[in-house]
Amino acid sequence: MQEKLLEVRNLKKYFNTKKGLLHAVDDVNFYINRGETLGLVGESGCGKSTTGRVVLRLLEATGGEIIFEGSDILQYDKYQMREMRKQMQIVFQDPFASLNPRMSVSEIIAEPLVVNKVFSNRKEMQARVKELMETVGLAERLTQTYPHELDGGRRQRIGIARALALRPKFIVQDEPVSALDVSIQAQILNLMADLQKEFGLTYLFISHDLSVVKHVSDRIAVMYLGKIVELSDYKSMFKDPKHPYTQALLSAIPVPRIDIQRERVLLEGDVPSPINPPDGCRFYGRCRYRQDICKETTPELKNIGEDRFVACHFTNNLKAAVK
């Protein structure tokens, strides 16, 4: 029996904006088993990063529960949370923007160790930094260099080393390879897979690149406008996507092969505004199967068997929905 490391229930994050309440994350539910990778995909602005940040309490949730190893961390006070943080880390997309330019590589990696007073002895700390650099494949000669002197791949390795410093159980990977060239991207993806195996890490892997997400994930959640519309193991999702949005999304991927012709579902229009969204299915305006009920009632994310979850009134029955 697999054990849930993290479970998110009815998670909400709304932002107050001049134009109204922006529903960035709206009643999201998912869990991640220990040692697995949950991929979180969806288009720009659908709420992926906000979800990742709220789960780590880098942003305060508007509502919901975040159960980590059995307890709701939203109930934790500042001191409990400080301890908790050691278990939960994040790696960002833009390694350049997230690294302090005035700190050397070793200082950046050591920072969480210093802040959390992990070592009383300087030598021990240096040894740990050296070990971390080795773990992520950074040459020792780079210890005293600065982030701007390094290429994107190495900067991302620094970000990963820093995230590993406190021996976390869980890491949110927010577009960790999106800024990298494909040849470097592959190196970093392999590194993250090795680290996961070696340290038993659990990942929430955020990306808009579906080929990458499919490669790294055990299960995948598809988000649209603040909501999860489909969640299932990666194989079933790619073989037989159930939600009309997932179908369109997967069919839109340009596949670097000429021997396979895939049928494309072209979507009309653009993603609507997340500010004060109306009732009903968020995908209503772009869905080719829509019916009146879709406009009136918000579809729940329902278990349709075999641990697959879909939020659509016509799951398994899309053909019947065509007028």
Binding site: D151, S183, Q185, A186, L210, I253, P254, L266, D270
Partner: protein, 322 residues
């Protein structure tokens, strides 16, 4: 010049002379584009794709850029050495370009209708009223209702802005369209819309196109021929089918191995080892040799020549030199 060719690039070499040294952005490039044909120009950051495009447009910033040598034969005439006036007539009229960042090519304080109309007026000697009519027609073509012609770029989503940029680029019915990563900033479903639109318009107008991209998926979808660039060199150049079925250059093979295969399960990716070289200090011999699995001692010494390994299939690699 071959009959069906619209553009022939011969031995084109472009350098940037900087304080840190000389960047060999494009080295001895040879490419041909036929009428109505689409060439994919593929490579990672800094490979020289945008510089190639700027070279064809004769817009390489000088200084620091310098066209060191070669010819760019467009419709039978060498563009290098043409006067500013002649070039201005060709750009926009016959060759137009979609730049890497769509926002930089739109004027934020002018309505999109006026922006398209202006290009038409400039290049087709039509009056203001006709130009605006034509502009509205172009907008409809790219799937934007004509009545939105009075709106400003910020009122449009990213995908719509990119469609406006395409409308501007196609407004004068160019014979050659150069699109520099036209969909990189867009979400996949919007990218699919835009690519679909570009394909349709291209077929309708019989436009030739250079599609600059780092995405082999896009190449598979829209291109007829492909040139793969590494550190300023076209290291492999052939038709799409051959490139996908039987890639030859170790770098091309490495690129294919680096991308996760969406159709199959694979445990590990096979990345290309090492890092991009310093552009001002490229490795000796073959610039790819420090990262190449197949490299032998000679690869560090001798620069590979462009070799035609079978008719229409060019590879720059010592493994293929007799």
């Amino acid at each position: 010049m071959k009959d069906n060719n619209l553009l022939e690039i011969k031995d084109l070499t472009i350098h940037y002379i900087t304080n840190d040294g000389t960047v060999r952005a494009v080295e001895n490039m040879n490419l041909e584009i036929g009428k109505g044909e689409t060439l994919g120009l593929v490579g990672e950051t800094g490979a020289g794709k945008t510089t190639t495009a700027l070279g064809i447009m004769q817009l390489v910033p000088d200084p620091p850029g310098k066209i060191v040598g070669g010819e760019i034969i467009f419709e039978g005439e060498n563009l290098i050495g043409k006067s500013h006036a002649e070039l201005r007539r060709i750009r926009g009229n016959k060759i137009s370009m979609i730049f890497q960042d769509p926002m930089t090519s739109l004027n934020p304080v002018m309505t999109v209708g006026d922006q398209i109309a202006e290009v038409i007026k400039l290049h087709q000697k039509s009056n203001a009223k006709d130009a605006l009519e034509k502009a509205k027609e172009m907008l409809t073509r790219v799937g934007i209702p004509a009545e939105r012609s009075k709106e400003y770029p910020h009122q449009f989503s990213g995908g719509m802005r990119q469609r406006v940029v395409i409308a501007i680029a196609l407004a004068c019915n160019p014979t050659l369209l150069i699109a520099d990563e036209p969909t990189t900033a867009l979400d996949v479903t919007i990218q699919a819309q835009v690519l679909d639109l570009m394909k349709k318009l291209k077929d309708e107008y019989k436009t030739s196109m250079i599609m600059i991209t780092h995405d082999l998926g896009i190449v598979a979808e829209v291109c007829d021929k492909v040139a793969i660039m590494y550190a300023g060199n076209v290291i492999e150049y052939t038709d799409k089918n051959r490139l996908f079925k039987d890639p030859k250059h170790p770098y091309t093979i490495g690129l294919f191995n680096s991308i996760p295969d969406i159709e199959e399960d694979e445990d590990r990716l096979k990345p290309i080892k090492g890092l991009m070289p310093d552009p001002t200090d490229l490795p000796s011999g073959c610039p790819f040799h420090p990262r190449c699995d197949k490299a032998t001692a000679i690869c560090a010494e001798k620069a590979p020549q462009n070799t035609e390994i079978e008719p229409g299939h060019f590879v720059k690699c010592l493994l293929f030199e007799a």
